[in-house]
Amino acid sequence: MFYRDAGQYKSSYAADRAVFPLREDRIGLAVILLVAFVAIPLFAGDFVIKTVMMPFLVFSLAAIGLNILTGYTGLISLGTAGFMGVGAYACYKLTTYFPGVNIIVWILASGFFSAAVGVLFGLPSLRIKGFYLAVATLAAQFFLQWCFIRIPWLYNYNTSGAIEVPTRTLFGVPITGATAAIEVRYLILLSAVVLMTWLASNLVHGRFGRMWMAVRDMDIAAELMGIRLLHTKLLAFAVSSFYAGVAGALLVFIWLGGAEAGDVFAIRQSFLILFMIIIGGLGSLVGSFMGAAFISALPTILKFGLPAMGIPIAGATAEHLNFMVIGALIIFFLIVEPHGLARLWQIAKQKLRIWPFPY
């Protein structure tokens, strides 16, 4: 009734091929962006921005990166946290050596370093597939994590082994470091995520996306059609690691503002990002956001939300309850819809289109 395509005529090929063909979709997207860009910085408190929104955005970006590799190209990777770490350390070294260059440039440039590392570890993907590739990327994770702890050059020989984020400004306004306002940092992060999501959307809907999906569905057939496997797979690794690297740099510089990286970029994080895309939906950008919201923001909301709503659980009990609730929800969603929240969302939209007359 509210959501239908009747009466919306397309008069050009471009309109017909639009990512959001329905007017309602476009309005919805605009409203979401408006809420994210205006309402949240204005009305949500520091607490919500710092502990709910910023991790959600950072992990969405990382999940998009992994989704390009796993969801679109069909290559499983367990090294996402390691690639995120490469981005964070690359950004740290770059801004140490060239403090004059704007930090945003370095955050984006740090993605190229992790892309290079990703390509290196992606080389075996031509020969090995499936679980075996997962193990090969696991090696990347362990190796990179080892480097973060054992190569003091990476953290500028800091005695505590941590990345200490210096204050950097944009047009005179501090955007990193302790003095940067949380709203400013949030807006930077949000802009980066929106920009890179738009880029990813164009990539996966274009020629490269089709090449990746062809490789995913059947690589021999793709090869016969003239898609060069090595290039395609390595490109997927590069783009995926680029996203992970930028997410890592944003995580340390914009969100946490300094971190003991051996802890943040651990194997556990790689698994969490993999869970995000499995629960959100493989091969779906909106699924990446849903998965990130589910895995990263929901525990926080449960932990602090329940006591705030008057349900008196505190400390360790909340934590235990959290494990149980999240675990049960994961099982529930995987049973109800093994293709993830994105598929569930698609079904809901289909139903909504013909509602209230289901024929």
């Binding site: 502990t51 005695t159 946490l256 003991e260």
Partner: protein
């Protein structure tokens, strides 16, 4: 991406926007304390949390709080995870905590740059950033009563005493078994400086956090290298495993010294085999102190706490008590300095800088002989208190040495240098503007 989702998002934003609001009531002092009763570090986290919680419960039950103001004490579960610690920090801040106790080096590092902006003093008791002992650079950060660098220097002072002088250390091999994380690597510069000066060999045995419970290969290496002494920097599940593996590989327990974090529960499973195992610490254990008995009587017997009665006064529990005493004395000081009843974070910072817990004061607190006096100042946020040895006699810890002061003439330059490098590497680090109060 439709209206439905938008509506959902709006509802969600509204729901979560609501819960940063509740501020502390005006007639109480609010403390939000990190804890970890879950995860691989809970073995250390639970007794600490119990100690702190019980002491504040005692103050509320016995004295009606501090200076007549009730203490609203709340724990925030972190699971020793930096990310959850950040959430806890934000919550503590929004609810108006007067002090932040991170209980993890990573969490402390994440909070330190914000302390002077959010006006919340950070108390990292004998952990965290060693450089924060310098009050000139870090007016908002406190790490009493000793640093890890002091600890390593006391360890060397102790073994030099056992060997017959620092000159006798020449040619000896000293092993450092440490968690392969910033915390564990902290004493390395001190040990290296001493090794160069006194001519002993330093061997490092790093243990990755994921390998904490599997140290057999490390101890095989130790058996091969035969170090004369072992110093351990462990936390959480690393401690019981290290002690067990040491006993299993036949390392002489008498030559095995740990930094101040292992508790009775870490040693007890090894039992008599761990006889001679030593812990470097700054406070006594046991239930003989009047304060501990009052906790048993007024808190645990009244059902105000879940702590098992026999755990009161154990080593790590005592650390919780020590920290709670520091916080409460700082609040008391702050009330004296400012003349206010309900103090805030800024006042507590001033209270901490004028902290002076004398031997008489410890006696008044019902903790006579528990530890040595602690005095902080605007320049010294650490105190560099003496440490002594607790030795495991097969069933319990016994104090077997006199208090030994740290070798501060070696450690102080390191602290000054580290503080300076922190300030330069964090471009725009503010120089101290906070005025200094006279101790009252």
């Amino acid at each position: 991406m439709t209206l439905k989702k938008t509506a959902l998002g709006l509802a969600l934003a509204g729901a979560i926007g609501g819960f940063a609001a509740p501020a502390a009531a005006q007639d109480q002092i609010y403390i939000n304390h990190n804890s970890y009763r879950t995860g691989p570090f809970s073995g250390s986290g639970i007794p600490i949390g119990d100690g702190v919680k019980d002491y504040f419960a005692l103050l509320n039950a016995r004295d009606g709080g501090i200076g007549g103001v009730k203490i609203a004490y709340e724990e925030c579960e972190t699971g020793y995870d930096t990310r959850k610690s950040v959430e806890c920090y934000e919550q503590a801040k929004s609810k108006g905590t007067v002090i932040y106790a991170p209980w993890s080096t990573g969490a402390a590092l994440a909070a330190i740059p914000r302390a002077h902006i959010d006006k919340i003093p950070i108390l990292s008791m004998a952990y965290g950033l060693s450089a924060s002992a310098s009050g000139q650079t870090f007016p908002w950060v406190f790490n009493p009563p000793v640093t890890y660098w002091d600890g390593a220097s006391v360890f060397l002072r102790y073994i030099a005493g056992r060997e017959g002088g620092f000159d006798k250390l020449k040619g000896k091999t000293i092993g450092l078994v440490h968690l392969d994380a910033p915390f564990g690597k902290e004493p390395i510069p001190v040990l290296e400086a001493f090794a160069k000066e006194h001519g002993f060999n330093l061997k490092l045995y790093p243990i990755a956090a994921s390998e904490m419970q599997n140290q057999s290969s490390t101890w095989l290496g130790i058996r091969r290298d035969r170090p004369d002494w072992i110093y351990m920097m462990g936390w959480g599940a690393m401690n019981p495993t290290g002690i067990r593996e040491a006993a299993r590989s036949g390392f002489p327990m008498d030559k095995f010294v740990s930094v101040w974090w292992p508790g009775e529960d870490d040693v007890r499973p090894v039992g008599a085999q761990a006889k001679g195992f030593k812990v470097l610490t700054w406070h006594q254990v046991g239930q003989t102190f009047p304060a501990m008995q009052e906790i048993q009587k007024l808190v645990i017997d009244k059902g105000l706490s879940q702590t098992p009665r026999d755990k009161v006064g154990e080593h790590i529990y005592g650390k919780g008590i020590y920290e709670a005493v520091m916080i409460s004395e700082a609040i008391r000081n702050a009330q004296k300095v400012t003349g206010k009843k309900v103090v805030n974070g800024e006042d507590v910072r001033r209270g901490l800088e004028t902290l002076d817990i004398t031997a008489e004061r410890w006696k008044e607190l019902g903790l006579e002989g528990f530890t040595s006096p602690l005095k902080l100042s605007c320049a010294d946020h650490n105190g560099a208190n003496p440490l002594f040895i607790l030795e495991w006699d097969g069933t319990k810890f016994v104090k077997t040495s006199d208090p030994m002061p740290p070798v501060r003439d070696k450690v102080q330059p390191l602290i000054d240098e580290a503080a300076k490098s922190y300030a330069t590497s964090n471009a725009g680090w503010p120089s101290r503007t906070e005025t200094c109060d006279k101790a009252s």
